[in-house]
């Protein structure tokens, strides 16, 4: 267990997240990295779904999620101020679970680093997701996502409020925009994941919240941009680094964490060379 003042992240013998305890209450929480293969079509006939490629305008996975084996290399750093569990899943996916003293409202940081995403042998691209699983929470296919950082909208699997939908794309048809927060609830047991940028998200399995953190695709989706979503930097596939904030507890707490992260404090730095503390003070 790592943590401070009654709040802990608990790891199993392999160093993987097993549960989060808050003031004696234990909730089992796991997290997975995975990816979808991006569908590749010939985009021939406009509007014919089966030809569509996954691209800048479209998320269309080819098959279900491929979860990474739960055998990452694990390093644990424990200190007075902050404790971290560092995972390395592959040479293009690693992450850090971070818990620090006095986090108010309480939350656990999950900093992820993804890229350069490799294309596979058949040239398919990948769409990388992180899945958080609160095992004892049963949300029955309902979840909430925010609308531009403001009110939370209720979402329901395979359902649209204004017509009887028949979803051909069972995965992307249930993905919604997440500007700052996705949440699942089971009575007063509410869990949120706050994002540091807009992402796509869903709750495809009971008790899970899934967010797409990075994509690299090999085909244009013929909606106008005329190039595949294949961003590079310094000659390699783009490397992306970000943080998710896992927030147990009420919507009010999660909303405060959203404000604390969206309106993050600003740092201003100045050298204090040859200025002793007393003079500065």
């Amino acid at each position: 267990s790592l943590g401070y003042d009654g709040r802990f992240i608990n790891l199993n013998a392999n160093g993987l997240l097993e549960s989060i305890s808050i003031d004696g209450k234990n909730e089992s929480v796991q997290m997975d990295f995975g990816f979808y293969k991006g569908a590749v079509g010939n985009n021939e006939v406009f509007g014919v779904r089966s030809n569509r490629s996954s691209g800048a305008y479209i998320f269309r996975p080819n098959g279900t999620v491929n979860l990474f084996a739960q055998t990452p290399a694990v390093t644990i750093v424990q200190g007075d101020v902050v404790s971290e569990v560092r995972y390395k899943y592959s040479d293009w996916i690693s992450s850090i679970l971070r818990i620090y003293r006095g986090a108010e409202p309480f939350h656990v940081e999950h900093e992820w680093l993804v890229g350069p995403i490799p294309f596979d042998d058949e040239g398919f691209g990948k769409e990388v997701v992180i899945r958080y699983h609160v095992s004892d929470l049963h949300n029955n296919g309902e979840f909430l996502t925010d609308s531009n950082g403001r009110e939370m909208l209720k979402r329901k699997m395979n359902y649209r409020p204004t017509w009887n939908v028949e979803l051909d794309e069972k995965i992307s048809g249930n993905y919604y925009p997440v500007t700052t927060r996705i949440a699942i609830e089971d009575g007063d047991n509410i869990w949120s994941v706050v994002t540091d940028r807009s992402q796509g998200g869903s709750s495809l399995q009971d008790g899970t919240m899934e967010l797409m953190v990075h994509r690299r695709l090999s085909h244009d989706d013929a909606f106008g941009v005329g190039e595949a979503l294949n961003e590079t930097a310094f000659g390699k596939g783009l490397v992306v680094r970000g943080i998710h904030y896992i927030v147990p507890g009420s919507h009010a707490d999660a909303r405060k964490v959203v404000q604390n992260k969206v309106l993050h404090p600003w740092y201003f730095l100045s050298s204090a060379k040859n200025i002793p503390f007393e003079d500065w003070r």
């Binding site: 790891l11 013998a13 392999n14 160093g15 800048a56 305008y57 055998t71 290399a73 694990v74 390093t75 644990i76 750093v77 424990q78 200190g79 007075d80 101020v81 902050v82 971290e84 560092r86 390395k88 690693s94 850090i96 620090y100 003293r101 006095g102 986090a103 108010e104 680093l113 350069p116 909606f223 106008g224 941009v225 005329g226 190039e227 961003e231 590079t232 930097a233 310094f234 000659g235 390699k236 490397v239 680094r241 404000q259 604390n260 309106l263 993050h264 404090p265 600003w266 740092y267 201003f268 730095l269 100045s270 050298s271 204090a272 060379k273 200025i275 503390f277 500065w280 003070r281």
Partner: protein, 183 residues
């Protein structure tokens, strides 16, 4: 007001759906980043004079903000043994952030003092190797200094005097270990 024009133009340009959703061509995305960067830097003078007004000092303060903290890079904190970090809270209620700043080495210790002379607990961790190898990441930071600020007042600020100490401090050094081989 002239310093604000670049940022206002940037926000004007980026009302376009391409900028909001990322469906622009790569070279356009790069140009959006360039325009925003110019806008941010043009705002430096505005924020420095606003902060100096808040601090009640007559001349504008010499301050920089590091735009590459997201890849743990900041020349000022990496190359100075002593530096001041001022944290401004833009919210209308107090916050208690964890501050993380890149530093050159992983073995040095630092003290973080507020103007009242109270020392705040600090910790220096080695940055993960995957961060060190991010393509194009500038600078030579190998470590990360973290400390807790305590309460930062609403729409207010708090400054900390950070200095490298030669003697190891009383706090226990971070324990690093890897669990038993996965079963």
């Amino acid at each position: 007001r002239p310093d604000l024009i670049a940022m206002r133009e940037a926000m004007g340009i980026m009302q376009h759906h391409d900028a909001v959703t990322g469906t622009e061509q790569q070279h356009v995305a790069d140009d959006y980043a360039r325009v925003l960067d110019i806008g941010f830097h043009d705002c430096d003078d505005i924020t420095a004079s606003a902060l100096s007004k808040l601090m009640g000092s007559s001349e504008p303060l010499e301050m920089t903000n590091c735009m590459l903290l997201n890849v743990s890079s900041c020349p000022l904190t990496e190359n100075n043994d002593d530096f001041v970090v001022t944290i401004f809270n833009p919210q209308s209620r107090e916050v208690r952030p964890l501050v993380r700043l890149p530093v050159a080495s992983t073995t040095d210790q630092y003290t973080a003092k507020c103007p009242q002379g109270k020392e705040h607990p600090t910790q220096v961790n080695a940055l993960p190797t995957d961060v060190l190898v991010i393509p194009g990441r500038p600078g030579n930071a190998l470590g990360e200094l973290t400390f807790l600020t305590g309460c930062i007042p609403p729409l207010g600020y708090k400054s900390f005097y950070i200095s490298k100490t030669s003697k190891p401090k009383h706090t226990k050094k971070p324990r690093i270990f890897t669990p038993s081989e996965p079963t």
